[in-house]
Amino acid sequence: MALPPPDPQFVLRGTSAAVHALRFSCGGQEPDVPVLFSGSENGFVHVWNLETHRADTALDGHGRKSVYCVETMGSRNRLLSQGRDQRICLWDLAEGRTSVTDSVFTENVGFCRCSLLEVAEGRWLMATAARALQEVQVLELPSKTSVCTLKPEVGAKLGMPMCLKLWQLNCGSPPLLLAGYEDGSVVLWNLSMGKALSQLVCHQEPVMSLDFDSEKAKGISGSSEKVLSIWSLNEQQNLQVYKTHKLVNAGISDITIRPDKKILATAGWDHRIRIFGWKKLKPLAVLDYHTATIHCVCFSDHRNPSGRLLAAGSKDHRISIWSIYTQT
């Protein structure tokens, strides 16, 4: 007899706007408190204290335009936020400061979340959608120099890039980029040469979100239709469809794989979070708490496995925090 799904461990309220982005930072040592960063539609980035369940600070750096991506750069004191004011802001939050140290003007009016990858100590690569319609630009941070611009070939009707993921197999190997586009295809780009290695049409509708497991060379993408697509990368760097999974309701906003690669979570337009086992995509749970579409899901980076959490931000202004499958 299966147990009914668990309730959220707690719920964070107080953003007074739809929540579009979430990022945990819980790996710090004592006395650092585990925190959760959230980006909202009213332009604020809230810093939530996960012990008191209150927002400690609200960062206002995007001129009240919606913040749709929040990333930490190494520690909880270095934060990156991306907003609809076409800017990416870099924050310094050490010792209680709340200042924007640097910003990048991307000139892009889309919704594609940027992707960060630390390639060396203090050196980051950031991929964002560029000004021109189908292009993705890769910058190096903190120097903000352009590494390359990835243009699809002439005649390829990919549409806007919808989601990006930078990854490298291990520390020394060349970084690669997976990009999901509006026409439903996922493209693997080689950054050093600036050209596409492989393209796979996974969906009939735009790819809304994707995540990739570099150890198993397997990735998953979700779209506005009812299908989740799992694809793999073979030795020749070619993408192939591995399997697909049909959902009950259409529309996925976000997908994320837990850092231990055991489970993954999807954020649905039908107000539900779905948990699957990553190995065989076995459906494990459907978490039904929110009353509007869920925009983002995120797993925490707790060192202690039993303390791991899952956060989901929704259009109903609430962030639900769940503790699920923490025993493995």
Partner: protein, 632 residues
């Protein structure tokens, strides 16, 4: 009759005279049934016999030539046989040429398809005669394309000409098509325009089929004309004429299906070759994972039985529905509202009555925002529900809008359909809310909602006549329907009179008596139904009188669909108005109508009109008889 072959000069002219005389007296069947098979056998391989046969027919005097040629054409088993028997008679003899190229094709239309095949095949088999084939095709196309022919000639003749055109096309060869391509194109364009203008669906379809065939012949490569129409036996038969089968096999092939399949197969190939990315088949997951320790087994799924499809809730109050339909941007809610509206209206009559006109207005202008299945039907049912819940104000609104500016023809016809459906519902006795399939006041007749063709009304009138003439009060053996007040009684006038009032007043965008004769046809049919449904209401006499005057004003309308509607109106009047009232209040109108009906029966070009007029005359006779038997 026996000939001496070989070497002897015999004079055949006497035999020709005999043949001619016999044929002209109407004995073609007897003599040719013996002669033609004999001659067929004899002429199969022997050219002397062929020449004898040709001399035989050539020597028939002109005044009997027609009968003989017709007889041969009808009797011959195939075009090649006819060719052997007649030779180049059409080229040599003027009268024969006239019969074959003009009379049979353009002036008569009683012959079968086989006769047409024989005749046109015969023309195509010899190079001397092919010139005639092309001339024939041009003349046929001219007739096919003339708008007056389309309007005034009977449908059977139009079908005959279309068949002839298709058979001609099937015989034409490439170089001939090349030479007259331009003419074919022009005639096709003109002809298809006249045909599509017609109100009768059968004529429209004939035009479409012929135009498609011509287009496919003149554009062998490249895009061809393709229409959407109902494929039934008649259409398939017509299309099968396009391809000539070899003389031995009798079964016609259906080339169009093959051609379409080829075209369809070409498209996916083109699409696939354009794709550069691989959409490879999914890799079969490794089976050996069963053997290794699956750490997923540690993860126990939770109960997911609550995970169902998300359904947006529809509003529960009528005023909320109005709000959603007029303002809301939420498309899911809009869809749910449209689906739920009819039942809400029916469950809340009091609330609906408060906002009925507003709701009717919204529904009349409601356009499809998202792609719902059956949107048109949902909207219509909701409109009918509103109209039946609050008939008088809503009918007033709808009938006034029918004659207003700036509505599309589709909207005006929607108004008519809604009025008819609502009238039907109101006039039926309600058996606890189930109003769908209940019969009319007099039992056993199922009224079908008026959609497109006039066939439904004819069927009703037919059944009605049958029941009227044969019934001996068997009605009571049926289960008594629950009696209830006739709700249509109080509102029949409100439905009927506003519609009939302004038909002769043209507006800038809407002229019933001019271009919009299709809507006029629908209006007339609607009035017929409303009249019929008004039986047993108080207003029925006034309605009948007004309707007869209306019919009198329009009786010479050129559109046959309108005339059919007018005749249904008369049927409804005769059936709906009680006989005593008919005789007392409407005597002159009835007499005038009767004389007009007599005219229609004899002179109208459309077969359906003639039939309806005849039925009306029968109805009138029956009425008279009935009145005579009732002691006054």
């Amino acid at each position: 009759v026996c000939f001496i072959p070989g070497g002897l000069d015999c004079s055949i002219s006497f035999v020709s005279h005999v043949l001619g005389k016999v044929c002209v007296h109407g004995r073609q069947k007897e003599i040719l049934s013996v002669l033609v098979p004999r001659l067929t056998d004899l002429t199969k391989s022997d050219c002397i016999w062929q020449r004898i046969c040709w001399r035989l027919v050539e020597c028939v005097p002109d005044r009997w030539m027609e009968a003989v040629v017709l007889g041969f054409v009808q009797r011959a088993p195939g075009a090649d046989t006819l060719s052997r028997l007649l030779g180049n008679l059409v080229v040599k003899n003027k009268k024969a040429q006239f019969v074959v190229t003009q009379k049979v094709l353009l002036l008569q239309y009683c012959h079968t398809t086989a006769v047409l095949q024989n005749l046109l095949g015969y023309l195509s088999l010899d190079s001397l005669r092919r010139a005639l084939l092309i001339k024939v095709l041009q003349e046929l196309l001219e007739t096919w394309g003339s708008s007056s022919a389309v309007k005034h000639s009977p449908p059977e003749q139009q079908q005959y000409i279309s068949k002839a055109i298709l058979i001609c096309l099937s015989h034409l060869k490439e170089p001939e098509i090349e030479s007259c391509r331009q003419e074919l194109l022009t005639s096709m364009m003109e002809g298809v325009k006249c045909h599509l203008d017609s109100s009768l669906p059968q004529i429209r379809r004939l035009g479409m089929i012929v135009a498609e065939s011509i287009s496919s012949k003149i554009n062998t490569d490249g895009p061809v004309l393709k229409f959407q129409y109902e494929e039934d036996d008649e259409a398939r038969e017509l299309k099968s004429l396009l391809v000539q089968t070899p003389p031995f096999c009798v079964v016609p092939s259906l080339p169009d299906e093959d051609r379409n399949e080829e075209a369809d197969a070409a498209l996916p190939l083109v699409l696939e070759s354009n794709k550069k990315s691989h959409t490879a088949a999914p890799v079969v997951p490794d089976e050996e994972s069963d053997a290794e320790l699956d750490s997923d087994d540690d993860l126990i799924p939770y109960d997911m039985s609550e995970d169902k499809e998300l359904k947006t809730k529809a509003p529960v109050y009528i005023r909320d529905c109005i709000e959603v339909l007029t303002g809301s941007e939420d498309l899911d809610k809009w869809e749910a509202t449209v689906k739920a509206l009819e039942s809400l209206v029916r469950k809340n009559p009091a609330a609906t009555r408060e906002v009925s006109v507003e709701l009717a207005k919204i529904l009349l202008h409601l356009e499809e925002k998202t792609c719902i299945e059956g949107f048109v039907e949902l909207r219509q049912r909701a409109q009918v529900a509103v109209l039946t819940t609050d008939p008088i104000p809503v009918a007033k609104y709808l009938t006034s809008q029918f004659y207003s500016l700036n509505y599309s023809l589709r909207q005006r016809m929607d108004i008519l359909d809604v009025l008819v459906l609502a009238a039907q519902e109101l006039s039926c006795p309600k058996s606890h809310g189930k109003t769908k399939h209940s019969g009319a006041q007099k039992p056993c007749i199922q009224l079908l909602p008026g959609s497109d063709s006039s066939k439904d009304w004819r069927r009703i009138v037919d059944e009605r006549i049958k029941s009227k003439t044969r019934r001996f009060a068997t009605g009571q053996s049926q289960v008594e329907l629950a009696a209830g007040p006739n709700e249509f009684n109080s509102v029949a006038g409100h439905f009927f009179f506003p519609l009939i009032q302004h038909f002769d007043r043209p507006l800038t965008t809407f002229d019933l008596l001019g271009e919009d004769h299709f809507v006029l046809g629908r209006l007339v049919h609607t009035l017929a139904v409303l009249m019929y449904l008004a039986v047993n209401t108080v207003a029925v006499t006034a309605m009948g009188k007004a309707l007869l005057e209306f019919v009198w004003a329009l009786r010479f309308h050129t559109d046959s669909y309108v005339r059919q509607g007018l005749l249904s109106c008369i049927s409804s009047v005769l059936l709906g108005v009680p006989a005593e009232r008919l005789l007392e209040d409407m005597t002159e109108e009835l007499l005038e109508t009767q004389s007009w009906l007599g005219d229609v029966v004899e002179k109208d070009a459309d077969g359906d009109c003639r039939r309806l007029a005849l039925q009306n005359l029968l109805l009138m006779e029956n009425l008279k008889k009935k009145l005579r038997t009732v002691p006054s």
